[in-house]
Every structure is written in structure tokens, then in C-alpha cells.
């Protein structure tokens, strides 16, 4: 259980996130939506502590993670894996080593700095790559991969962290429709198969409706919507997005999302499939 209590963050005079309360039970698939600048990335990055909150606290199973430092902080970061829009891989290193960096927190400093990985770790990394059908790329340099492949490497890296939560900050924003589906399916699979909580910032409402069991809508740093996708009516989303609403919705048929779709049975909202 992740409990976000009255969390706020200021950048200079700009209030990026203000007074957010959220209770997130283990195993949820949460979509965070809202227009650009609403504070979605800041919220996610505060959970991983890449950004420090200016106010409030975040409890995970009763432990205040905003107070952690040193080894305890690194352990927490390893427990809540992060997936970035720009993948944030080490381009000059091969794919397998990139996945293995997900193990850094769990191996001794000397071994990790010398890049001596145990056979178990390597097998774990390879099997993670295999799940996303890119094990054959393991020896290739990460920057020689396509965007969709790189994002799958990033998800494999997250997976070998053996995290309790996965935070994904617009994981599909730089991908084409086909890769979008592959990456979202991968996240859904991790969520259903391993029971890992997924919190995912999304730009597209249709994708959010299709995959998430709960949507959190943000505007100007505040949570203004928090419910199942079916409750997000056309009116509500217009409130959330203002005049941009037409851009993020496929058609005027804004309320077509059905909760049951998130189970992966029939993902009809996607325009393309292979």
C-alpha cells in the first residue's frame, strides 16, 4: 500500500504539485492523466525521490520514504523502478549490461564497478529480455535499437530490479502505435502476472482507459479526478483538458471506455495491431 499524504513541490514560485492525497493498494494499475505541466512527472519523480517534495510525506507499507537517505534510499529506489519517456539507457553499453544495471543495488560495489555479473544475474536479465522477445539483441549496443526496442530494454531493466512498484513516465510518448501496444501490453503483463503495482503517466486518454483500472486526473498540481475509467465522462475530461480535450480523445465518444477492457481481453480502443 502506497499512501501519498498531502505532498507538494515548488520550483521557485511555481507550484508544480500541491497537496496531493492518494491511496494506492498493491497490485493496482493506475493511469495519471492531465494536460502538459499539470505536475504528473513531478509527482512520479517524487515517489522515486529523483525530486524531493517540499511538503508532505509518502508512506509505503507504513514506512515514510521521504525521510530515507543513503543505503535505505537506494533500496527504496530499487523497489520502485522507473521507466522514462526517453528510455534513459546507457547508449554506449550493450543491451544485457543495461538490463543488468537494474541489479546494481543488489551486488557488491567492487563486483558491480568491475562489471563482473554473476551467472544468476545474467540469466535473470536474459530471461527478462526473452519475455519481451528481444533476447537476440542482448549483445547489441543499446543506442543501435529502435525506440520500441529500447523501451522494452528499459522495462526489462525495471523487472530485474524485482520492484514492488513500477513508475512509468509517459513510456509511450515517443513511440509509434504498434510499439505503443507492445510496451503497454508488457506493462499490463507485469502488473497481472507479477502483481507489481504500476503507476503510469499517459497523454492518450484512450490508452489510459484501455489499460488502467483507475485514473487519477491532475490539473495545476492538484488531483481533480480519481475514479474508475468509466466514470470519466466527456464533460469531466473537458474539465481536465480544457480546449485540448479534442486532441487527447479519439472521437466525441469520450465515454466509450469500459472497465473490463483493462483486463486485456479485448483492447478495442487501439487503432492498430499486428
Amino acid at each position: 500500500m502506497l499512501a501519498i499524504e498531502n505532498i507538494s513541490r515548488k520550483f521557485g514560485h511555481k507550484q508544480a504539485v500541491s497537496g496531493v492525497h492518494l491511496q494506492i493498494p498493491a497490485g493496482s494499475f493506475i493511469g495519471v492523466i492531465g494536460r502538459s505541466g499539470a505536475g504528473k512527472s513531478t509527482l512520479l519523480r517524487m515517489i522515486n525521490r529523483l525530486v524531493e517534495p517540499t511538503e508532505g510525506r509518502i508512506l509505503f507499507d507504513g514506512v515514510d520514504i521521504t525521510k530515507l537517505s543513503g543505503k535505505a534510499l537506494r533500496d527504496w529506489r530499487s523497489d520502485c523502478a522507473m521507466i522514462f519517456q526517453q528510455f534513459n539507457l546507457v547508449g554506449r553499453m550493450d543491451v544485457l549490461t543495461n538490463v543488468l544495471t537494474g541489479r546494481l543495488n543488489k551486488v557488491s560495489a567492487l563486483r558491480s564497478l568491475a562489471r563482473i555479473w554473476s551467472v544468476d544475474d545474467r540469466i535473470m536479465a536474459l530471461s527478462a529480455l526473452e519475455q519481451f522477445e528481444i533476447a537476440n539483441l542482448a549483445a547489441q549496443r543499446a543506442d543501435s535499437l529502435s525506440g520500441g526496442q529500447q523501451q522494452r530494454v528499459a522495462i526489462a531493466r525495471a523487472l530485474v530490479q524485482e520492484p514492488k512498484i513500477i513508475l512509468a513516465d509517459e513510456p509511450i510518448a515517443s513511440l509509434d502505435p504498434r510499439n505503443t501496444k507492445i510496451v503497454m501490453d508488457a506493462l499490463l503483463r507485469i502488473n497481472k502476472h507479477f502483481g507489481i503495482t504500476v503507476i503510469c503517466n499517459l497523454h492518450s486518454l484512450d490508452i489510459a482507459r484501455d489499460y488502467c483500472d483507475r485514473l487519477v486526473g491532475m490539473a495545476q498540481g492538484r488531483v481533480v479526478f480519481d475514479d474508475v475509467p468509466a466514470a470519466l465522462t466527456a464533460e469531466k475530461s473537458r474539465e481536465l483538458y480544457g480546449i485540448e480535450a479534442a486532441d487527447v480523445m479519439d472521437t466525441s465518444d469520450a465515454a466509450k471506455g469500459v472497465f473490463g477492457q483493462a483486463m486485456g481481453g479485448s483492447i478495442s480502443g487501439l487503432q492498430t495491431s499486428h
Partner: protein
């Protein structure tokens, strides 16, 4: 038919021009600006010639003298040059050749050791001088200025200083190259670190990696190829410096070059120059290959 290009009305034109006066300034301003930059440069150039009393007549006379020198230098040899001169006979006397080759090897050793010591010692200071690694602004500023000071003093001056400290010989040469390059490498490293992409660093941090991990995995892979090619380039440049500092007594082939110029053995001088040239070319040849081997490592696809 619909017009493909929108043509604004007169009023519209006027409104746009008035709204953005800066974008519609007359072109003359650009010319004036250019002249304002060029004029001082031209004046400085002419004044320099006048002040240093350079006359073109002397250049003409000197040109003739230069031709004379070149003829004195031919053919290059390492043997006996007394009259009657026989090129092939002079080549058969190899005592000097071995001495020259040995001192060339000494020069290469000085350049190699000096470069190596500088490259290694500059690593920690390079990180200290990088803004994105060193959060403390005062320490960052002090390291930067320290590196600038070390770098500004020329290798030749460092050689003269070190000769006074450790005495004549190759050790002074090594220290001279090491010190002046230390400043240079420190600056080059810190710049490579500062321009490195921060996304991989954030990626490593987000997995729960330590500060050392972010440097090892996030920064090092990015800066290593840059650093290696800079070291190789400096090694080549330092071979030339090591020749020059030999002249003031810091070991190596420069000593012989200086001696042969003093006793007017021009054919030996040209031979020594060719020897250095060959060494530099050889280093260049090797360093290009090493650089590509490192930069191109694991590039492209590898069979599964």
C-alpha cells in the same frame, strides 16, 4: 482555384512591420556591424608590422638565404660529411645512427611517460572541475583556476623549472610534459563530463545505484572515447614538445639537434628532423587505428 500562397493586404503588411521593427531593420546595419568588427583587426595587423619593423625587402633577401640552407641540408645523412663528400660512404658509418635512434627512443619514452602520468593524475581533478559533479561552487572555481594556471605555463618553461629542481636529463622532461598536460587534460575531461548526457545518469540513479555507479555506468561510457582520443592526440603533440625541451637539456633527441645546429652540421640536422617526422607519422598512424578500435567497439549488430 485556391491560392497556394497567402498574400497579405497592404494594411496587414504595415501592421506586421510596425509590430516587429527589429525584424525589418535595413540591411545597412549588418554591413556597419561587420565593418566595426573588421576595422580594428585590420588596424592591429598593419600596426603590428609597422611596430616590429618588418620590411619586405629583408624577407626577399632571407628567402635566398633559406634556399642556401636547404641546399646545405641535402642529402640528409648521419655519417661523415667532410669533403670530398660521398653519400654512400657516409651511410656506412653507423656509430652516430645508433646514438640518434637511441635518443629518439628516449624522446618517445619521455612523451609517453609524461602523457600517461598526466592522463591518470588528471582524472580526479577533471571530476572536481566539472560543474555537474562538483556541487561546491567555490571548490569548482578554485580547481578551474588552478588548472588554467598550470596550463598557461608552456612545456618549455616547465622544463626549465624542473631542470632546476631535479637536474638535467629525461626525468625533468617527463615532469615538464606531465605538468603542462595535467592542466590540459583536467580541463578537457571536465568539459567532456559537463557535456555528457544526463539521462543515462538518471536512469542508473533510479535503479538504486550509488553515486559511484552513476559515474561508472552513466558517465564513463560516454566520456571514455572522447578522453582516449584526446590522450592519443596529445601523445603525438608531446613527441614534438619532447624534442624541443631536449634543447634546454631535458633529455632526448633535441640535445643532438641543438648540438648539430651549433657545429653547422646541416646534413645531420635534416636527418634528425626527418627522424622526428617519421616517429610522429608512425604515432599518428597507430593512434588513428587505436581510436577507431575504441570508438567503434561493439558498434552495430553482433550475431546472437
Amino acid at each position: 482555384m485556391t491560392p497556394t500562397r497567402q498574400s497579405p493586404t497592404r494594411d496587414e503588411r504595415q501592421r506586421l512591420i510596425l509590430a516587429h521593427p527589429l525584424l525589418f531593420r535595413s540591411g545597412n546595419r549588418q554591413l556597419i556591424k561587420l565593418a566595426a568588427w573588421l576595422a580594428p583587426a585590420l588596424i592591429a595587423f598593419c600596426f603590428g608590422f609597422y611596430w616590429l619593423d618588418i620590411s619586405w625587402g629583408r624577407v626577399w633577401l632571407g628567402l635566398g638565404r633559406l634556399g642556401e640552407f636547404v641546399s646545405l641540408m641535402l642529402p640528409p645523412t648521419y655519417g661523415d660529411t667532410n669533403a670530398p663528400f660521398d653519400f654512400w660512404r657516409s651511410l656506412s658509418d653507423t656509430t652516430k645512427l645508433w646514438i640518434y635512434l637511441q635518443s629518439l627512443a628516449e624522446t618517445l619514452a619521455i612523451a609517453f611517460l609524461g602523457t600517461f602520468i598526466a592522463a591518470v593524475c588528471a582524472i580526479p581533478i577533471g571530476f572536481l572541475a566539472a560543474k555537474n559533479v562538483m556541487a561546491n561552487t567555490i571548490l569548482h572555481f578554485l580547481t578551474r583556476r588552478f588548472l588554467d594556471t598550470v596550463r598557461t605555463v608552456d612545456t618549455l618553461v616547465w622544463a626549465l623549472i624542473w631542470i632546476n629542481v631535479v637536474g638535467l636529463g629525461p626525468f625533468a622532461g617527463i615532469l615538464a610534459i606531465a605538468t603542462s598536460n595535467f592542466g590540459l587534460f583536467g580541463k578537457l575531461y571536465s568539459e567532456a563530463i559537463e557535456t555528457a548526457d544526463t539521462k543515462p545518469v538518471e536512469g542508473i540513479l533510479s535503479t538504486g545505484g550509488s553515486h559511484l555507479h552513476t559515474v561508472r555506468f552513466g558517465l564513463l561510457p560516454q566520456i571514455l572515447p572522447i578522453i582516449v582520443s584526446q590522450i592519443l592526440y596529445q601523445f603525438e603533440s608531446n613527441t614534438r614538445s619532447a624534442t624541443i625541451i631536449g634543447i634546454v637539456g631535458a633529455g632526448g633527441i633535441g640535445q643532438h639537434l641543438y648540438e648539430q645546429i651549433k657545429i653547422l652540421e646541416w646534413q645531420h640536422v635534416s636527418f634528425l628532423v626527418l627522424l622526428v617526422l617519421a616517429a610522429v607519422m608512425m604515432i599518428d598512424f597507430i593512434s588513428v587505428r587505436v581510436r577507431f578500435a575504441i570508438i567503434g567497439i561493439k558498434q552495430g549488430s553482433v550475431a546472437p
